[in-house]
């Protein structure tokens, strides 16, 4: 680890790096002075963060730093203790049903319904949108094929491998065509090669379909593969670095960034 980073200069240097133009698109997700407590434990501490439409943000942080808690507040499954979380101009916890069809989640584990076949699992979101059965099936089949699961549509989850199951769950998220995709370490349970292939595929699909995506991870490599923007969190969910990445970032700079992130995660 180089000395400049260790004595603190590295941080300043890193924060000065501006890799892409400032955000002009509208704000899709806003954290305003958000604190979340569980009893005495502060899981998120006075966090402010804007995520803009069309961004693909990797939230990177060590285990237990409050990533899932942030995620749950974005998805409306949890209310902030203080401050405001706004997604598309609404409050997710309060106006829970407003987001029907507007956000989709890929969870850490596949969370497939064991009593439904692969294609029926993909259809669940479309059912809540009241889409007719024939179209539901077409759309579900389209996404299963896109993720390489043609021929497995009628398999029950127990007959699929872990990687295949996670692909079904990605299909399920894309099928509703929601503009916001939330992912909580979706590939962390898979082997490295499958994980790498799926996240590259995932990043490509997000870009091609013009989605906004928040991708939680504790792996620096994964954050680099996925994010246009990498938000590094320290405990309890405070921002350590906020980095914009683009293809023009030189490989030396990348290496430098990687080492700096590594250092602040290790701290």
């Amino acid at each position: 680890m180089d000395a400049a980073i260790r004595n603190g200069h590295g941080m300043t240097k890193l924060d000065d790096l501006q890799f892409v133009a400032p955000d002009t698109a509208e704000v899709e997700i806003a954290f305003r002075n958000v604190t979340k407590r569980f009893g005495n434990l502060v899981a998120v501490d006075n966090l402010s963060l804007d995520i803009h439409r069309g961004q693909m943000v990797a939230l990177l942080g060590k285990t237990g730093c409050g990533k899932s808690t942030m995620f749950n507040m974005i998805s409306g499954l949890m209310a902030p203790s203080e401050g405001e979380v706004e997604v598309m101009g609404q409050q997710p916890f309060r106006n829970f049903n407003w987001y029907r069809g507007k956000m989709a989640i890929v969870f850490q584990t596949d969370r497939l319904l064991p009593w439904r076949t692969a294609v029926k699992n993909v259809e669940i979101g479309l059912e809540t949108l009241g889409i007719a059965p024939a179209e539901r099936r077409d759309r579900a089949m389209h996404w299963l094929e896109t993720l390489g699961l043609k021929g497995h549509e009628n398999d029950y989850p127990h007959a699929l491998s872990g990687g295949m199951r996670q692909r079904v769950s990605i299909s399920r998220a894309f099928a509703t065509d929601a503009e916001l995709l939330l992912c909580d370490e979706p590939f962390s349970a898979l082997d490295e090669i499958t994980s790498k292939r799926l996240r590259t595929e995932f990043a490509r699909l997000v870009r091609e379909n013009g989605k906004t995506a928040v991708f939680i991870t504790h792996s620096i490599d994964e954050a680099f593969d996925i994010g246009d923007r990498i938000v590094v969190l320290k405990r309890p969910a405070e921002i350590a670095h906020d980095l914009r990445m683009s293809d023009s970032v030189s490989s030396e700079d990348r290496e430098h960034i990687r080492r700096t992130i590594h250092a602040s995660l290790a701290a």
Partner: protein, 268 residues
Amino acid sequence: MTDVTPSRRPYDNPAFGVARRLFWVAAPFVLIATAWQIASAFFPDFLFPSLIHVFARVFDILTTWSLFSSVLATAMRILGGLAGAFVLGAVLGLAIFSFKTADRLLTPTLTFFQGIPALSWVVFAIIWFHGVEFRILFIMVATTLPAFTFQIVGALRSMDKDLSEMVMSFRPSRRKYFSAMVLPAVLPEVVTAWKVNLGNASRVVVVAELVGSSGGVGFQLLQQQQLFDMAGALAWTLQLVFFVLLFQWVLSQFERMAFRYRAVSERG
């Protein structure tokens, strides 16, 4: 010579497999029957009647409408009581699961009810109500309701939180949430509850039929007791056992069909 029939060992033959399974289904019953038959050779007929005698009575019951209608009446009472307890139990169970107040009020009450013996309900029913069928229905529901309710609450509480959150994340209507998540998640335990309660109900029903019913297996058993007719008592008892086995089998078939999605471990 192109037509070569592969040679098969006898136990590769599917018919052999079926026969072997049938043998193991029959074996325990054959064992009991043999023991009984041996006993009948040593004891007087009114204690251990010969099985031939008993089967003649069974046949008689099955083929005589006035007798067989008693079996049907009892079967209907069991199913009616279970259906009533199930519907009520589902409502109470959902209430206990959804509202804390309902939980606080109903759970201790039902636990208290669970301690009341079936015979007490028979006495209460006779004092409170007039119609025989209503009395029986009341006893059946009262005795099976607590267990049914608790089993449904247990099924609801053990519903997978992660899966339920996943379904919620799509913002389903209440109705959709119930049909896509709650119902399929609790169904296996509900079927098990039916199986367990079926056994209980079939034992309670004969007691309930002592409230003045002029038909039914319980009534017939009482007659046999007064006549000191062991063959008759056995024949009537067997009717009830047959019914329970038949209905268990129907439920098992339903399980096999409805829960095909479950993984089967080769180690069992």
